[in-house]
């Protein structure tokens, strides 16, 4: 079933069966996580975690602190190797690929704690992402900062998040909210096939959160989003499907409206958190 490139949206029937039971999104899944397990010594961080991300959906992953969300994200992006299970992206098993290779395949992530290049300007941060996507980072001659094939798409990304007028500031001079926006601009610059956004609203005020929520709603047109988020209002406003991670396992998964009613979820999580 594979085409010449070895991946792209064609799937084996076996892969389709393994994805989220009966969901109509299953045959469109771009990211499939199957039976993922990670242990740190005796501590089980993730146990048999399975879920998938369909094209043009926002799938939210929620769970209390210490549920293993960050560990899961790091396994998906390739910063951490899982002990068992498989991760498929665009129909291809990416379990053995490093973080840089997964990014080049089109898996873009944002960081929970802003991870920008502090000494670089806002523009340079985005240009680096364009560079990563388009390649050519072994070119040792030619000025990067006047290279229009880097500059123009970078400025376009900054305009989309409303940071274009801040382009020459050092990233370290940005306010917290602006840094979050720059994170998104960097993710946009990668023109990914899927976004993994790790708590993109962390530390944002109510107004900033509202702006970003609208923004993400538009972002789904660009690529599907796996959203790791704490703010329940945001999750239920944005997500098509929600998976609930508690104690390293997924205890419920389904359409947002269903999850909101799920008694197990309310007891384990929503009840404690939303009050």
């Amino acid at each position: 079933m594979r085409d010449a490139t070895g991946y792209r949206k064609s799937f084996t029937p076996d892969a389709a069966r393994r994805t989220n039971g009966g969901s109509d999104a299953a045959c469109n899944a771009i990211l499939e996580v199957d039976q993922l397990t990670k242990r740190f010594g005796a501590v089980v961080a993730n146990e048999c975690v399975s879920f998938d991300l369909a094209v043009d959906e926002i799938h939210a992953l929620i769970g209390p602190n210490g549920a293993g969300k960050s560990t899961l994200v790091r396994q998906i992006t390739g910063e951490l190797r899982h002990d068992a299970g498989t991760i498929r992206f665009r129909g291809r098993d990416i379990s053995h690929l490093g973080a840089a290779d997964r990014a080049r395949l089109g898996l873009a992530r944002s960081f929970q704690v802003s991870s920008l290049i502090a000494g670089f300007s806002v523009l340079q941060n985005v240009m680096l992402a364009i560079l990563g996507r388009t390649g050519g980072h072994y070119r040792v001659f030619g000025r990067a900062m006047t290279d229009r094939s880097l500059l123009e798409p970078a400025v376009a990304c900054l305009e989309r998040v409303g940071l274009a007028d801040r382009r020459s500031l050092p990233a370290s001079d940005l306010s917290h909210g602006e840094r979050r926006k720059l994170e998104i601009a960097v993710a946009l610059a990668l023109e990914p096939e899927a976004f993994v956004l790790d708590e993109p609203m962390a530390g944002m005020g109510p107004e900033g959160t509202r702006d970003m929520t609208d923004f993400f709603f538009g972002l789904r047109k660009a690529a599907p989003i796996l959203l790791i988020e704490h703010d329940m209002d945001v999750v239920f406003k944005l997500a098509d499907r929600v998976s609930v991670l508690v104690g390293g396992r997924i205890i419920a998964s389904g359409p947002a409206a269903e999850i909101r009613q799920d008694s197990k979820v309310r007891a384990a999580y929503l009840g404690d958190d939303t009050g």
């Binding site: 992006t77 991870s115 670089f120 990563g132 980072h137 990067a144």
Partner: protein, 326 residues
């Protein structure tokens, strides 16, 4: 306080003025001193690419400096004794042509850096410092115990290597060759640092996680920088061998690694001309303080402590009032 461009111009001007002044007042040793500054500066510019721009604190750059020196020494040794380096499967003979020696020295330096870097770049921090030191020391002991090329006593180069159309015996001519190469290395470095590759390399230094997450393989970026760095330092080593007309294992010793590192830090890490300023300062101290007291290195050490504590951008950073990059 002056702009960095103006300071760089001043440095080059000084470097040119000193040997000319030396000839006018009939003090030819000033030409040799300036040549030393140019060569050590070049070795430092090479290290700065790895240590400064790449954040790779190599404590083993003597390996490339010495390797360049030995390439020059061994080629000249075979040419002067008219015995081939190898006669099977193809005949390889020595040479005294600088234009052949330089690229070979750079190629060998780069290859050595790739081999050493491929292993050491898997570590970081103190381990990286220690493993690069260990590799350089391995080469040092290898050179000591290799009798065909002088072993511990080193290898003399009886006649200075040749450059077509120039009399390389003339100290001023040799200085001009070294200065021209230094300027070339500086120009190449400035282009590399400002390129796409330079952007990726400096990003990897500041935030490896972020750089990886945009799809850049930082290991390969760093290895490439390490190879370039090794090539530049090896070229300096080849010139140094020619200046002294002598190669010895001391070029490979950890003292040499330390000296190259000191002049980079003294001059200013991630400053293009920093190592040149550092080399100037180092040679001046060695010459004039060394004439007053044999403990001149104590004062050098004191100066280094001062720079590290109070002027993180080194001499260049201090004079231009631009603090060091992150």
């Amino acid at each position: 306080m002056i702009s960095e461009v103006r300071l760089n111009q001043t440095l080059v001007l000084l470097l040119v003025a000193v040997p000319l002044f030396g000839l006018i007042v009939d003090q030819p040793y000033l030409v040799t001193l300036a040549t030393r500054v140019a060569i050590l500066g070049m070795a430092g510019v090479g290290l700065n690419l790895a240590l400064g721009y790449g954040g790779l604190v190599s404590f083993g750059h003597a390996a490339y400096f010495g390797a360049g020196g030995y390439v020059a020494g061994i080629l000249a040794h075979h040419a002067l004794n008219v015995e081939p380096i190898a006669d099977w499967p193809i005949l390889i003979s020595g040479t005294t042509e600088m234009l052949i020696i330089w690229p070979l020295a750079m190629l060998f330096g780069a290859a050595l850096a790739v081999a050493i870097g491929a292993l050491s770049l898997r570590t970081s921090g103190v381990y990286f410092i220690m493993i690069t030191l260990a590799f350089a020391q391995m080469l040092f002991y290898f050179a000591i115990s290799w009798p065909s090329y002088g072993g511990e006593d080193g290898l003399p180069i009886y006649v200075r290597n040749r450059f077509p159309g120039l009399n390389t015996f003339d100290p001023l001519t040799f200085f001009c060759i070294c200065l021209a190469l230094l300027m070339l290395v500086l120009w190449v470095t400035s282009r590399v640092v400002g390129s796409r590759f330079g952007l990726a390399l400096q990003a990897a230094r500041q935030n490896a996680e972020r750089t990886t997450s945009v799809g850049i393989d930082i290991f390969r970026i760093r290895l490439t920088a390490f190879a370039l760095s090794g090539a530049m330092t090896a070229l300096a080593g080849a010139l140094y061998a020619d200046l002294n007309r002598f190669v010895s294992p001391s070029m490979l010793s950890w003292h040499t690694s330390g000296e190259i590192m000191i002049l980079v830090i003294l001059g200013g890490v991630t400053r293009l001309y920093g190592p040149v300023a550092g080399a100037g300062c180092f040679v001046l101290l060695e010459q004039f303080l060394g004439g007053l007291t044999e403990h001149w290195q104590f004062w050098l050490g004191l100066m280094l402590v001062g720079v590290v504590l109070f002027a993180k951008g080194g001499i260049v950073g201090l004079l231009t009032r631009r603090p060091a990059d992150a």
